[in-house]
């Protein structure tokens, strides 16, 4: 399939799905029907040309499938079906308010990220229904067989059906919580793509690009929402560094050692502009803070120009908002950069008694790094090795073993 056609279909997929679900109410069956319509388009349009109203075409074809499906379902459930209800479903009321397309897309997104779904289910469903990715593409991205992923999507749809979630926007009370879930799912998708960029991953789809695209769509629908803007800024400011974080051999390069000429300045500018506008709105959220931290890093021309006191202040704010021990860990690193490694090490001691992070490889890795700066090489080596034994990431394990080996050599100690 040619690239422009693929992009067009991916754009139209959620729009078509929104319209079909709005009309027929059965999310699971509608999703299947739209998938079939997309497949038909992928085959027919290259031969016959793109129709004048491509979205209308997809909705029409999907609706026809739905009618076929409903008719066969009706035939099976003739006695139980309330015929009046069926008729009402198929023809909208004359006085019904036409909902906007924008509401449909947003409603769909809230549905895909419903809190009753596990994160991996929500991610799979969002990529399918909102991103228009095929099951095979998503499966490849997550390194599972296509059949496994297909099952996950089926079950996610069945879950939504069983939970009886109506196809409408969440109420005002529910909305901010539901939006938080949506943003979290989008962030997970971004992170999956970004953290997998170690080494050549030829078969994997650009998940981070997809996350950015979807977040842009949400931002267009909710332009006054500072946290959505914050998330988009965070993604751009992080993605900007992507090319520099791995070497040609797939080795991981820490922030302090990255070739900053490889950072994407356009993404950095856009991220900073978005962030500035968001911060001007007054309320500060966690994504905006994380974006601000990323911005401070991205603004430094060289690692030694990094405004660490700014970063420390931002982590102090983030610590007030978030109980997450990873935030405390990053805060300790910033404190070490501003006040010296001993301060950082003292802060790490507090984390030893936090069961959520004690024994986590990152705690040992950071400790090792700070011990190295203080000059206690043997202790640093010990913690690098401990961290290496605790991580489940191959590139990270390699990196940590290299650090241990490097330090070990300079001590002149044997294995």
């Amino acid at each position: 399939m040619e690239l422009p056609l693929e992009h067009l279909l991916r754009e139209l997929a959620p729009q078509a799905l929104g319209a079909v679900v709005r009309r027929f109410h059965d999310f699971a069956a509608s999703e299947d029907a739209v998938q079939e319509a997309l497949l038909a388009a992928a085959i027919q349009w290259p031969q016959e040309g793109v129709p004048d109203n491509p979205r209308g075409w997809l909705i029409q074809v999907a609706s026809r499938r739905m009618m076929d499906y409903l008719r066969s379902e009706e035939a099976r459930r003739r006695r139980e079906t309330d015929m009046a209800v069926e008729t009402a479903r198929l023809t909208p009321a004359a006085d019904a308010e036409p909902e906007t397309d924008q509401d449909d897309t947003l409603t769909l997104l809230f549905m895909c990220c419903h809190p009753s779904l596990s994160p991996s289910s929500a991610i799979a469903l969002t990529l399918r229904a909102m991103g228009g990715l095929t099951t095979a593409e998503i499966a490849r991205a997550f390194l599972v067989p296509e059949a496994t992923l297909a099952q996950r999507i089926s079950r996610a749809k069945a879950s939504i059906k069983a939970s009886g979630v109506p196809f409408r926007l969440p109420t005002n009370e529910e909305r901010s919580q539901r939006l938080r879930t949506v943003l979290h799912v989008l962030y997970l998708i971004f992170n999956e793509g970004y953290t997998s960029s170690a080494g050549p991953e030829l078969q994997r789809l650009e998940l981070s690009r997809e996350a950015i695209r979807l977040t842009r769509a949400v931002y267009a629908l909710l332009p006054d929402n500072a946290e959505v803007a914050g998330l988009l800024a965070l993604m751009l400011l992080t993605d900007a560094r992507r090319a520099a974080r791995t070497s040609a051999d797939g080795e991981l390069i820490p922030l302090a050692k990255q070739d900053r000429s490889r950072w994407d300045q356009a993404e950095i500018s856009e991220g900073i502009a978005l962030l500035t506008a968001a911060l001007a709105k007054g309320s500060i959220g966690a994504y905006q803070l994380q974006a601000a931290i990323a911005a401070v890093h991205d603004e430094a021309v060289r690692a030694e120009d990094t405004d660490w006191p700014q970063i420390l202040a931002l982590y102090e704010l983030l610590k007030c908002m978030s109980d997450n021990p990873m935030v405390a860990l990053n805060h300790a690193i910033a404190a070490a950069m501003v006040h010296g490694p001993s301060q950082g090490l003292d802060l790490l001691k507090a984390l030893d008694s936090d069961t959520r992070i004690a024994g986590h490889h990152r705690l040992d890795a950071v400790r090792a790094h700070l011990l190295e700066i203080t000059g206690d090489f043997p202790a640093a080596v010990k913690h690098y090795r401990l961290a290496a034994s605790r991580t489940t990431s191959i590139p990270e394990q390699r990196y940590l073993m290299m650090q241990a080996a490097r330090l070990s050599e300079s001590i002149g100690s044997t294995d």
Partner: protein, 130 residues
Amino acid sequence: MKYILMMTGTKAGVDTYRAWSKGDVQTHFAYLTKLNKELSESGELVANEGLAAPEQAKVVRAGKDGVPVTDGVFPEAKEFLLGYWIVDVESPERAYEIAARLSGGPGPGGVSTNMPIEVRQIMGRRTEDL
């Protein structure tokens, strides 16, 4: 999170298994088939393979000039892999739960075989910024 669940056995264990009654064997297969179906339907099963009989196994070492040296039969006491399941699950607890199900397959008289299943997380390629 991906885990590999490994079912191991010894020659003695396998010999005993080969002497089970037809009914017991069928019951055991039915149990595993049902479990595999469940794991497929839940979207957790990534791969599952049974390995050929240990008598057919070889242990290979590098020999002189790159010619592989193969040893035949496993020694009596050695444990070897019978088969594995690779699952993609939300938590370590779920991996242990599945492993316990594997371990609980029925043997002669319907008594659980209670086989030890080794559970190992599979390392990934993802990593946070350093």
